[in-house]
Amino acid sequence: MNEILVQILIIVGVLLGTVTIAAGLIYVERKMLAVWQQRSGPNRVGPFGIFQVLADMVKIFFKEDWIPPFVDKKVFIIAPTIIMLSILMSFSIVPFAPGIVIADLNIGLLFFLAMSSLGAYTIVLAGWASNNKYSLLGGMRGAAQMISYEVFMGLSLMGVVIQVGSFNMTDIVNAQKGLWFVVPQFVGFIIFLIAGVAETHRLPFDLPEAESELIAGFHSEYSGMKFGMFFVGEYLGITLVSCMITILFFGGWLGPSFLPPIVWFLIKMFAFILFFVLLRAALARPRYDQLMSFGWKLLLPLALLNVLITGAVVLSNA
Amino acid sequence: MAKVIIDNVEYEVPDGKNMLEVCLSLGMDLTYFCWHPAMHSVGACRQCAVIQYRDENDTRGKIVMSCMVDAVNGTRISLQDQKGKDFRAGNIESLMLNHPHDCPVCDEGGECHLQDMTVMSGHNYRRYRFNKRTHVNQDLGPFVYHEMNRCIQCYRCVRFYNDYAGGKDFGVFASSGRVYFGRSESGTLENEFSGNLVEICPTGVFTDKTLRKHYTRKWDLTSAPSICHQCSVGCNTLASERYGGLRRILSRYNGDVNGYFLCDRGRFGYEYVNDDKRLTKVAQKATSDTDAFASVKNLVGSKPRMIGIGSPRASLESNFMLKQLVGEENFYQGIPQHEAQLAETAFNLLRTVGVKTPSLSEIETYDAVLVLGEDVTNTAPMIALALRQAAKNQPREEAYKLKIQKWNDAAIREVVQDRTGPFYTATPCSTKLDEIATQKFTGDTNHLLALSDKIIAAIAGSQGGNDNTDAYANDVAKALLSCKKPLVVSGTGMMSKEILLAAAGIARALKVSGKEAGLTFAVPEVNSMGLALIGGKYWDEAVARVQSEKDTIAIVMETNLAYRFGKKNAESFLKNCKQVVMIDSLENETTAFADFILPAGTFAESTGTVINNEGRAQRFYEVFVPKNEIRSSWAWIDQLTHSKESARHFDTIVEEMIAHYPILEKIRDLAPDANSRIGTQKIPRETHRYSGRTAMNANISVHEPKPPLDEDSPLTYTMEGYHGKAPSKAIPYFWSPGWNSLQSINKYQIEVGGPLHGGNPGIRLIEAGDNTGGDLKNTGSNKTNNGTFEVLPSHHIFGGDELSAKSAPLATRIPDTTVSISSSALQRSGIEGAESLSINYDGEAHSFKIKIDNSLPDNVLMLPKGFNETKGLLFPFFTEISKG
């Protein structure tokens, strides 16, 4: 009975926590972008503008939720919910601290990969349902980009899996007690980082919504809370990828014991979230063909090589 | 063909051209001012200078004026040579020394040949720092605005006005730096073609005064290809709109019809489109709160006894649709029976008599002319302009014999001087063309008919007696037989069927004697020929019908019954109808009698086809969508009969019409259909520089309205579409990169002055066969002679047409209504010295002021046709006169 209660508490906690963080990122991102661009950022609503999040939320909730007459209505409504669902599902396998995990699956990593693949649907469906050429272009770009980078993302993680010998997330964290995987799996880390940015189609890889070319790409026709779902979905994605990097390469909750494990986890996670924001502040968007050739011609061989070498080393050690 | 070398590239060009024409025809950009494709070269402005080389070894070359260089085999010139370029830039700098800093307030700005040429020559900085010479302007009347400071002394204006159009009251004065182009004193330009100065002048010395009242730059105008509706010639025009008002009319080049020119009635008689008295709303007489249009629709839908009154002012489609609505046996022509029969006679004669009726531009190629009974200067002015050119053909031959090239205008004029070729007039009174006539003859209808018979006899070889008429007839016959291409010009001006038959008889006799004869008829109105083709019962039957059948509903389309039949007749007719539906554009005396009014578009707000005096079908397009309920008459009628919200498409209606009238088969090719595209694009009515789209309606609402779609034509109402050269059948404006003025027409022609790329628009429905046939006996009854004076209509270019007379600028030129009589006739009648005289018409006395015209025969009076005081009079009639 008690266990079930705890489990429910964890589920509710993770759900609220992640969504709150994602919403909070609206403020964090705007503020940090400003800081890196020598501006003030939001500073009108509340002290240091921290209620900007609330203002934005209120605004987005009360905006007219317009469904254009020419769209495929059902798909148009379903599309934004998929990204929210698939990413929130992924959070169920994330161990935030020992015991704070919704479902400690033994194939946790595969579950994460599977769920993140579903994210491609949201873009394709949104692009298609909008019945608009820019949306369609955005959707097509998104599909190609996400499906391609999923390949390297999966492969880059295989090094970690080979070293640990398990897909279980808790096992992976525990395997890093001696040395964080970022050191032996440095190449895997870089590839995963880049692929993670591409998977969440964050800047500089935001080609599906490239506003200078495609207005807003796949979500051109969206407004109100449906747009808000994409928006929050994107921040959830960042949070998720940051969590995964923390777990897979930076030892998860592991850290000196003067702070509780969950805090360590959050510190590491926020560091990567900030890194994502820095990427946005600093880098320019590559051309679409550059993105694809970079993936297939550089990251793929590199990832394969990484798997090959890790496998060889593990094999020779055994 | 000759081979010439331009900038080391060899081109094959037709013989008899000069190098400027050759370069322009080849699509090259070369600057020029004084040369004009219709007036050829004088070599005055020095702007078309190029470098000519002896042969391929000659590297220095010499500067020559390309417009004065014959394009013969081996001519070698260069446009790109720096010396030539420098010369042209330097020349334009000199021409521009005194040109004022006026462009912002000059009406020519934006379509100025001088601007274009300055940019093209590369002269872009004024180095001259000293004082500019100035001139005092003249007031040249209501049409043309004069600003002499801007003149660059190219002499085009005098060459057109005096040499081409035969004007007498304009000239060039003073010498050296003081040269002045204008009249000897301020005053209205009298020539009927003065408006062309606006287009001829390469800069802004002469500008359109009517446009000035509501000035708009060329690039801001929404324009559509249109057809002039002010007489039967059907000149091609460009009608332009801005802010819902018609702004101006320009000539639209058509190598087969009007070429570069227009008459003043056509150019300046458009203002009635903007009149305050326009009917703009569907209206119902006894106003109730129901939808007026629904009431009309119910009325028509209840299948009452209906008659339709068609009009020669309305398009083929409108007349056809009305005929379809009311049924064949209920369609009447809204013109006096006599006039309807005249148009039918003219139409049938052109088809049956076997003599070619030349197009307007072909008239210029005839070398002997007989004008029978028609004052073409006033009834069809552009024919008069063409005849003036035809009259020069024979003396010109002499110049050609001296090996002077055809384009060498100055030299030819030196040879020709004032001489004209064989040109004979036979009219009731002396006309303006008499000044170029070899001999003239005046007489009443019977005299003219007798003369015609004698001419026919003389042509056939039998010599007549020795009286005055015979001598004239013999001279005419001899002259017509001694030339290559004789032309007989006549028309409905005298309102006499016999005159038409006589003219056809002369032309046929000439053809039988082996001449390449031509026959041209001027008819009363823009679509008189079309109405004759559509056919319809006569007016008198309609009058009888409404008297006997009291429950008749009349649909009167684009006809002012009071104008055509007199107020009294119109009122009694309208009162006899149970209900009257009027489809018209302007409020008039009869609109008060209408139970329902449907506002019809004028030529500017409707699309349609009209047939001109030579049987050429031509399409005119809606220029703009009015912001009120105005629309084409055919669209109204279509909406009355079909249940749909909007009318069917124009092309559908044309197809339906062709199905009923196989003779119209060819008009399917008159214009690209509404679905045709250039690539994927339609042709825009607005230029690519059209401005103010997001502000022009912002005072009404800041939210921009959706632009109207055009489903009836290949054109669009917006600036979106194909901005290259439009196909010749749908040219909304002339423009080419670097050529903003009307001179850009060069780029639309296969060779300058020749046909347009893709062929001149318009399709001739009548072609004479080889068989000379047709019965030329008059079958109608002659009018009974119940008076000593025959009253004939005189025509006036300004005021002789119902609608254009309502245009304010034209209205100021309408002369007083006077009765013309010779002084000897006055003397004979014993009312010498009277100021006005009274005549009998239909049992009523009418009094008019007297104008003495001693060229009139003693038994003829002339009254202006179509003036306010004379409307409804059916010419010709006989009367006694008395003082009063």
């Binding site: 003030s40 880098l283 | 006026d102 307030v105 001139h135 509501h214 708009t216 997001t694």
Partner: protein, 171 residues
């Protein structure tokens, strides 16, 4: 690749630099006279409208937000009957000012023209016309032009000779 890393580092360092933001509206920025803000129509030294309704500004406008109609006074002096700028469309590019041959249309250093109702952003001539000469003093187009139009006698402008006597016989 390395340049990207360098960029990241440099942008990261911006964190420690002073902020450049001016806290508008508490503090106002200095706007130079040639700042491209609210558009006005100026008058010439004789206090007449400078605008001669030549339509060049309308033609130059890339968003077509200027619309006007020319008319004339009894002397033939051109001026706009109406002159309308739809500021809800204006992009303040200043091409109208460049195109203006008479210095009539000018952009000013004022940008505070927000409205709650878009319709209020449509400015008519009464809203645009100011009483002064704006940035360019002393210029009067009609003194330079060749037309007279009641401003001066024919030939009375700058750098103009008196009108030619057509009837003189002198060489």
């Amino acid at each position: 690749m390395l340049s990207n890393v360098r960029t990241l580092w440099m942008v990261f360092l911006k964190m420690f630099k002073k902020k450049v933001t001016i806290q508008y509206p508490e503090k106002k920025a200095y706007l130079p006279p040639r700042w491209r803000g609210r558009i006005i129509l100026s008058r010439d030294p004789d206090h007449n409208e400078r605008c001669v309704a030549c339509y060049l500004c309308a033609a130059a406008c890339p968003v077509d937000c200027i619309s006007l109609q020319a008319t004339e006074d009894e002397n033939g002096r051109r001026y706009p009957e109406f002159f309308r700028i739809n500021f809800s469309r204006c992009i303040f590019c200043g091409l109208c000012e460049d195109a203006c041959p008479t210095y009539a249309i000018q952009l000013t250093p004022d940008f505070e023209m927000g409205e709650y109702n878009r319709q209020n952003l449509v400015y008519e001539k009464e809203d645009l016309l100011i009483d002064g000469m704006g940035k360019y003093h002393g210029y009067s187009f009609y003194q330079q032009a060749g037309v007279a139009v009641g401003v001066k006698p024919k030939g009375g402008g700058e750098k103009e000779d008196p009108p030619v006597d057509v009837r003189t016989l002198l060489p």
